[in-house]
Every structure is written in structure tokens, then in C-alpha cells.
């Protein structure tokens, strides 16, 4: 039996508070949503603090030792030590780059949702060895930052769940938009789970996904059952006017060597 839970809201909850309710959401649900978001933030900070301390901090200590060693060596003997220091610096550069993109995918702000998602899938697949089959339509427009980040985080969190629980080697992501709505679906054919239990456990992954959708006035459903895989569907309203991607780009690239 596939179970379906609905989370609905008609418009953005940020608009205006209604006595005791936020646009149809009971106060306790709203509070638990807020609590979840704070927890997510704290979890993120914990991860960053650990990475900074364990990896960047350690590498910097080693780097410092290597450099003091090099200073004490005769000038013609420093090659190997400096070479080691240089490769450590390269490692550090790529780690900082990775962490910074993890925190906030810059391409989302600079280039929009589609490049950010493509980057996410590439990085996800290389870390988890789970292949992401991605189909999309109508994503070449600029979404508002709120919708962009909500969509990105929903996909990211859903894929994290796939990696943690589903036991599959492939997931499928569909994303498309018409003039009013951005649709997202994340599917896997993995283990699935019992929705009622997950709801009772306060499963943070699913709660975060719900929270993201609700905060932008969206709709979200999760379909799953043990042994039947999981499908997460989100519909996010594209609230403000859609800006077309910058027109009149140079076609220099397209015209050369092709």
C-alpha cells in the first residue's frame, strides 16, 4: 500500500500571520517547522566546524612544519620539502572550494538553478557513486532566489536521503516549469519506508524537505512503502515575474570549431 501525505498551503507563509495560524498551518506545525530549520542550521555549522578543525586545521599545521623545515635546510636541499608543501596547498585550495560550494552553491546566484543542479549531481555522484538520471524542461529561466534555493535544497536533501537509506545505484530527478509552477520529482526504486513511522520519528530529512516547500508557499507529497521505492513531488509557485536569461550573449563560442 502506497501512502501519501499531503502538505498544502495556498500562498507564502511569510506574507501575513493570521490569528493563531500561519495561512492554514496550525501554530504547533509552524513552530516545529521553525525548530527544524534551526536544527538544520546548527547541524550544518557542526559539520563545517569539524571540517575546519579536522581537515583544514590539520593541513595548515603540517604546512607550517614543512615550511619551518625548509627554512632550516640549505638552500639547495629545499626542493622536496617545498614540493610537498605545494601539493598540500593545492589540496587545501580544492577543499576550501568544495566547502564553500557546499555551503552556498555560488552558481545558483551567478548562473541560476539548472547549472547549480548539474553541479550538485556531478558532485553527488562522485561522492556516493549513485548515478543521477536528470530530465528537465523549461529551466532556462531565472527563478527568484527563494524558489531557486528551495528547489536546490529539496533536491539535495532528497538525494541525501537516497544515499543514506535507499540502497540503490541510480536515482531519477525530473524538473520542469510552466509559467506558474516549478515542478520537481525525485524518485528511487530502493528500500522505501513506512511513512507513518517516519512521520512519528520526526525524520529530519523529510521534515526539512517539507519545510522548504511550505516556506515558499509550495506543495509537497511523499509516496513510499517498504520495498516500493520513494517518490518525492514538489510544486513550487513561481511567484514573481520571470526574467529571461540575459539576452544577446556572444555567440563566439558556438561559432568556433563546431
Amino acid at each position: 500500500m502506497i501512502q501519501v501525505i499531503w502538505v498544502k498551503s495556498k500562498s507564502s507563509v511569510i506574507d501575513k500571520p493570521v490569528k493563531g495560524k500561519y495561512h492554514g498551518l496550525p501554530m504547533d506545525e509552524m513552530l516545529s517547522l521553525a525548530r527544524n530549520l534551526v536544527n538544520v542550521q546548527e547541524d550544518d555549522r557542526r559539520v563545517i566546524a569539524r571540517e575546519l578543525h579536522d581537515r583544514i586545521g590539520q593541513s595548515l599545521t603540517v604546512l607550517k612544519l614543512l615550511l619551518s623545515e625548509a627554512i632550516n635546510l640549505p638552500a639547495d636541499k629545499t626542493g622536496a620539502t617545498l614540493g610537498e608543501a605545494q601539493s598540500l596547498v593545492n589540496e587545501l585550495m580544492s577543499l576550501v572550494r568544495y566547502l564553500s560550494l557546499e555551503l552556498r552553491p555560488k552558481m545558483l546566484d551567478d548562473l541560476g538553478l539548472l547549472p547549480a543542479l548539474l553541479y550538485l549531481f556531478e558532485s553527488y555522484s562522485s561522492h556516493t557513486h549513485i548515478n543521477v538520471k536528470f530530465e528537465h524542461y523549461g529551466l532556462h529561466k531565472k527563478f527568484t532566489p527563494e524558489i531557486g534555493i528551495a528547489a536546490y535544497r529539496i533536491v539535495q536533501e532528497a538525494l541525501d536521503n537516497v544515499a543514506r537509506h535507499s540502497g540503490v545505484s541510480e536515482a531519477k530527478v525530473l524538473a520542469w516549469s510552466d509559467r506558474k509552477v516549478l515542478f520537481i520529482r525525485i524518485e528511487d526504486l530502493g528500500k522505501g519506508f513506512n511513512l507513518a513511522e517516519a512521520h512519528g520519528n520526526n525524520s529530519s530529512g523529510l521534515n526539512n524537505i517539507h519545510g522548504r516547500a511550505i516556506l515558499v508557499g509550495g506543495k509537497l507529497t511523499v509516496q513510499s512503502a517498504p520495498g516500493r521505492g520513494t517518490i518525492i513531488n514538489a510544486e513550487l509557485p513561481i511567484i514573481t515575474r520571470i526574467k529571461k536569461e540575459t539576452q544577446g550573449k556572444s555567440d563566439d563560442y558556438r561559432n568556433t570549431g563546431r
Binding site: 585550495m93 551567478d110 506543495k219 556572444s250 563566439d252 563560442y253
Partner: protein, 216 residues
Amino acid sequence: MITVTLADDHHIVRRGIKALLEAEPDMRVVGEAGCGMEASQITQKTKPDVLVLDLMMPDINGLKLISQIKKRSPDTAIVVLSMYGNDCYVLEALQAGAKAYVLKDSPQDEFVRAVREAAAGHRYLAPPLSDRAIEAYMLKTEDTKLDPYDMLTLREREVLHLLIQGSTNAEISEHLCISRRTVEVHRARIMKKLGLHGRTELIHYAILRGILPDGK
């Protein structure tokens, strides 16, 4: 002589690049900028052969800056020097009008080569970047043909399943607590999206898709 202007918000980076380029007998640095605005102005003023530009400037989005500079100083070739080698940035930078793209952790001779190639009017991507990777990325950004069934909204899918089970508009309206008029609108949209006309085609579709309810 190749004249070069440098734009990077870190003084120490500019100093390094300058030292590197001026060690070449045929290169001369004629201007430096620490922000996007300055980069645009100084390029216009000094008219260098090449502008070396960091994509992440504090004041202006680097991609916008490229298009802006290309408009004002079309004869200056732009070499992007960036921390980020993700295909999306490389593609956007090239489309905006950059001639070459080099990563900050590329070997020095790659960087010098990029400046020289750009000055000669050639496009150059320093390894590990490659045309092939950029083209593969471009393909990924093209719209995919989606299955129309996948493009139905959640509500439309509910209505579709009820229609297939033989429910009437009135029954669906009651079941989903929506007005009959809304059911009609959903129904029309579903048929249009799936390209179907009439109930027979709907049933055929349901059989083909394997979404016919049990016992029917």
C-alpha cells in the same frame, strides 16, 4: 609586445601575476584594477591587448563584467583566471566573450600560454579544462523531452486515475472536495497534455501505460 591589464581584488595575487608576466620578454603589464568598475575603466583607458580577469570580483558579477568590457573595449582579449573550473562557469564566460580560461592552480606556463594565445586571437582552455567537457556540459543543459505523464501535476494525476477508474465529474468533484468546474478544467488539461481525445483513447492510454486499475 603584448600589453596586459590585471584585474583581481587581491593585491598579492596581482603582484604575483605581474612578476610572472614581466619575466616574459614580450609582455608588459600596463594597468591594474582591484574591482570590477576599475577593471572596466582601466581597460577602456589603457586599451591593452589582454585583460586578465578574476571571475569573482567584489562589486560586479564577473560574467556581466565580461560582456560589459567586450562592448566597451572589443579589441581587448579577456583571459579569465579563476578558482572555479566548473564547466558552467567556463561555458558562460566563453559565451559572454572571454577568449581563454585558466584555473588559479594551473601551472604557470599554462597561464602564460593562455595570455599569448588570447593575444593572438585564439581561444584557449588550460587543462584540465577542455572543449570536449564544455560541449558535453552544453548538451546536458539542453531541454529534455519529458514524458507527458510525468508533467501532470499531482492533482491532475489524481483526477486522471479517478477518470480511468470510471468516476464521473460529479464523483470526482465530491471525492476531491473541489468544484465540478475545477474538475472539468483539470480534465481538459490532462487530455491536452497527454494529447488524447475522448474516453476510448484515455482507456487505451491507461492500458499502454499500465495504469489501469485492478479488475478492469
